[in-house]
Amino acid sequence: MENYFILPFTLGMITLFVILFIKYGLWIARLSHIDKLRIIQCIFTRRTWDAIVESVMEGLLHRSIFKRNPLLGYMHMSLAFGWFLLIVVGHIEGFLCYGTFANAPWIPIFFQYFVHYQFPGERIMTNLMDFLLLFILSGVLLAYFKRLNSKIFGIKKTTKLKPFDKMAMIALWFIFPLRLFAESATAALYGNGGFLTNSVANLFILIHVTPTMESILWWAYSISLGLFFVGMPFSRYMHILTEVLFIFLRHYGIKLKKQFNSYSRIQVYSCSRCGVCIDVCQMHVANISNNQSVYILKNIRDQNLTDRKLYNCLLCGRCEQVCPVKINLNDLRISQRIRATKEYNSDYAFLQSLPNETPTTGKQPEVIYFAGCMTHMTPGIKKSIVKVLDKANVNYIFMDKEKGACCGRPLMLAGQYEAAKKLIDFNRKKILESGAPVLLVSCPICYKVFRDDYELGQITIKHHSEYFLELVEQGRISLKKSNSSIVYHDPCELGRGCNVYEQPRELLKKTGTLLSAKQEKVMSLCCSGSLGDLSLSMPDRNVIKAETLKVLLQKNPDVLATACPLCKKTFVKGVNIQVKDIAEIVANAME
Amino acid sequence: MNTEAKKQIWSSYQKEIADNNYYYARSCIRQNFFPASEVTFLRILREELNKNIFDDPNHTTCTGIGYHSDIVPFDTIQTVVARHFALMTEAGLENVAISCVTSFGMYTEILDLWHHFPEQLEKIREYLYKATKREFNIPKNIAHTSDIIYKFRNEIAEKAKHKLINVQTGEPLNVVEHIGCHYAKMFPTKGVGGAEFPQVLSGMIESWGGNVVDYPERRHCCGFGFRNYLVQANRGYSVSNTKKKLESMKPYKPDFIVANCPGCAMFMDKWQYTLAEMEGVTYDEFGYGIPVLTYEEMAGLVLGYNPWDLGLQMHQVQCEPLLDKLGIKYDPKAKYLDKNGNQMPLPEKPSCLKV
């Protein structure tokens, strides 16, 4: 009769397992056939081990958060790893006491209540459990503080909560203090506590603790556990287990598709809302604080994502770089845009009626050059590219010299996937027909889409910074070093988008003194001109740009170099120093 | 609306109109579509106002329709007009009274041309002499016949048997006046009130007790536009313009329309039938259409002439509701009797417009 208090816990746990079983079962069942095959093929390979290691490192130890913010990392770690150990050690304790691991699930949870007698290693285990409890409680204490004042964690904003989240969170906050009090009450009555529980028990003895009070405390502990378990699948704490599932699937090579599918859903539910992405988002500069990835994922879960939030993102990818769970935040957002706009894709019927002429050079061309819309707005870059190609004696075709269709990336960014495919087909045909082995592009926006979506077969796609470096290395052009100091801005699409960081720097080092910026390479700031954002107003863009420029120009360089016509156009209206594309710098430095 | 200020503006331009002794230049359209209008005009001038007006059997069309449809050369037309002046000169007259607004525009234009290019006048004199052995003087005064009625509107008002008042309510009738484009839009100084505010018809209406409706499309063309009507494929354009006017005046519930140009009167009348047949719309409250009168017919009604003698039965939109409002007695049986009292064939009934 007096053991009924285990019911809330037990029912809660059963509910949790049933729900998780159904949810995960459905998600995995809904993965594509190929993805399922991938899982089966990889399950007995090293990948599983890697996934286990990462699960421990990230899911339990929260290494990535630790790296970014030790205090926040400690908080996450103490809760996750501490609790995990509490369960593991609890089971060992049960084993030591009963001689078997096949105990009822509530035995390790309420061990102190059930076992008042001595068993081998009892003192060590009790004190170890007390230590773990203290470890967790320190994390809980930090969590209280974080709610009250997130700033001490170096976080500017914290996430807002829904009722289920609140319930689960409050339950979570109570679980461990209640466990402490319940165990202490038992210790006060039966003297079976460790160093922590005994200390609290000494206080309890002062107020004459009774078995009824003990019972109430164990009930409360059980209820808070039960509430937490019931609330968990409907709250952000769902991430605790989903994250592990995601880590495994990721290791098995499952990739995010353009369409929002079951894997996307797993990613969405893997977000722990640690808030690291909020911190790195440049939108704060413009006082925009409702559109960061964590909110978007939350909105996707709650199905209340508005267009304004969905489209108000530069898609710079900085949040993706810091996400401890490595969620594909950009692609998730784009998949939402695809979903939101799928009813009104254009068919570009006019492309069919355009004269289909692929320019030729007579000889076998080495390169086909695609300038793209943005390069046509920066004639300096276009002229420089042509100058370098001529100087190096490259036999090339200028694909869109007079007229050209857009590459499709801007459409892609807006979610117009079907429409973009039409443009891709149109351009793809021209590129393939040219017979050139290399596609040269001078705009990272185009570069990204050519690499990811064009399926150009044997043709290698090169950004001009890569190609020019090759020309230098092959001795087809030589560069003269000047004494001007240069700071390089990594365009989002080229750097984080295509992992090209070093070639532009190599080239720049040959033409001048390259200065480093405080935030560069993977953490480089966005210029604010991004086509990824549809709703950001011009004044807000200007504010963000000013902040980026402040970082870039800290060391007073002579030249601000970039490798993207859009970045150049964006910066040029905000600074007094020279803003040059790498193509222009190379063209000027040619001997 | 400040009507006083409005009236002041509308009467601010006046022109000189001869007092007596006119050479009458008839109108092709008027005598065909409103066969009693010109007779009524002559009757009013001769019987009511005791004026001398010469109705010459020798005069011809001015060829204005041919001119505006690009099939008669301008030199030819000038010679035809010169012949009319010769007939006037031969009749010992100096003032022309022109029944048609397009003719009025043609005469005015030609005189203006001769004024600026005297060599052209000499050439035309030569042409006319070669062709007919006639010679001519430039008329002293050119007036449209509506100008003459306007000039004597107060005399007519004195003799009026009926006023433009709804006898059932005692309220003045709402009258839409429409001025032909060629009356004053080409030579504003040649029209009473100029181009923007021609007063020639509104003056008559107000003198005879009616209320002039000022509606937004008051100055818009009736839709005739010669070329637009003469080519069947273009008629949609013509009827659309009329529709625009009718739609604009409809909210004012006009009791009738009066026009000084025979073409305008014809089109605003006949197109109401066409629009009713094509689109099922009428522009009055009860489905009869808005009656369209020439100013001669209006003057005739005011002077108490028999509506059937005025030829009102020849209109598309029937005039009986208007006659009832004016309190004019008429014999419905006599409507389609000819001048000898024989029954004429009855017109077909339109499918939409009530008769």
């Binding site: - | 609306m1 400040n2 200020a5 923007e196 505010f197 000022d214 509606y215 937004p216 909210p251």
Partner: protein, 342 residues
């Protein structure tokens, strides 16, 4: 013998007097109305800040009082005669003859009489106002704004260039301030009648001054005022008393008709009749636009063809308050140079 006689007690005249007093000269102002301040008395708010016109007026009233400026009110000049000794004899309606070393014409402007554009229906249709009428209405506004026919307006149109840039009005020149005034008034109307649709029909928008373009943009973006590029051709009255405007939307290249409850005509500035009188009595040279011809457009805009006769403010052409005050200050310095040389 007074140093400077100033004709006109508007802001140009008062500012000239103040500046001259600071430079140590004795001035007399002659004003035809019974108060000083000129047109500013009838104005509600000023562009581009929407500040009450009364603030500026109060400033000058206070200055006048503090400085004890000599002003003859209800007095108008009947002739200016330049004497052989280079001084001036100025006759007035009051049988007072002034003798002064110099004269400043600060007689300002008069508003274009919108009745001259008959087709716009001013004084014919009740709901046609001029920009000046609207200012008066706003100045005395008590409670809800209603049109002259007592309706809360749902649609209002502002017509730019009434009597300006119009050969038919006899004025080829641009009055310069009507554009920005229209934008200011449109914003004001939108603020007090938020439900109203507001149109501005313009030929060109000349937002030349500081803050003007910004205000125009605000009018578009924040107040959703619709700018239609096209000049009003004709106004008709609908059966329900609303006005029907015919304007070509020249950007769409299509005629348009707009039904409005109230029409505001942005009347331009004209040279006042007195200028013609001065021209007659002392041979003052006027420009083809009938305003006084400055002796030199660039470096002598306060001078006239007559030595000792100066101008301040809009007597030489349309000017904003900002420009007028500067021109008046410049006038004072020009006069100082003249007086100290002679």
């Amino acid at each position: 013998m007074i140093d400077v006689l100033i004709i006109g007690g508007g802001i140009a005249g008062i500012e000239t007097a103040c500046s001259l007093q600071d430079l140590g000269y004795e001035t007399v102002i002659v004003e035809k109305e019974r108060t000083i301040g000129g047109h500013l008395n009838n104005w509600d708010t000023l562009f581009p800040t929407h500040r009450p016109a009364s603030e500026v007026l109060e400033y000058y009233t206070e200055e006048t009082r503090k400085r004890a400026l000599t002003i003859y009110l209800n007095t108008y000049v009947t002739s200016i005669i330049k004497l052989d000794d280079g001084t001036f004899e100025v006759n007035t309606s009051r049988d007072v003859i002034f003798h002064s070393k110099t004269v400043v014409i600060a007689s300002g402007y008069s508003l274009f009489n919108a009745e001259r554009k008959e087709e716009y229906g001013y004084k014919i249709y009740d709901n046609v106002l001029t920009s000046a009428d609207l200012e008066k209405k706003l100045k005395t506004l008590n409670g809800e704004f209603k049109t002259p026919t007592d309706k809360v307006p749902e649609k209002i149109a502002f017509i730019h260039c009434v009597g300006s840039r119009d050969e038919k009005s006899g004025n080829h020149y641009c009055s310069k301030l009507c554009c920005v005034t229209a934008v200011k008034q449109a914003i004001h109307m939108k603020q007090i009648c938020p439900q109203a649709d507001i149109f501005c029909c313009y030929m060109d928008l000349r937002m030349y001054g500081p803050g003007f373009e910004e205000m125009y943009r605000e009018a578009q973006e924040k107040y959703h005022i619709q700018f239609i590029r096209g000049r009003l051709s004709e106004v008709g009255e609908n059966a329900d008393g609303t006005l029907q405007l015919k304007v070509e939307d020249t950007l769409a290249a299509r005629p348009s008709k707009i039904k409005v409850d109230m029409l505001v005509l942005m009347v331009g500035m004209e040279s006042p009749q007195s200028t013609a009188l001065f021209k007659e009595t002392c041979g003052l040279q006027c420009a083809p636009n009938r305003f006084i011809q400055p002796n030199d457009h660039h470096i002598g805009s306060n001078k006239t063809n007559i030595d000792g006769l100066f101008t301040a403010g809009t007597s030489i052409g349309p000017m904003s308050i900002f420009d007028t005050i500067n021109h008046a200050k410049a006038s004072a310095i020009t006069i100082k140079n003249y007086l100290s040389r002679n």
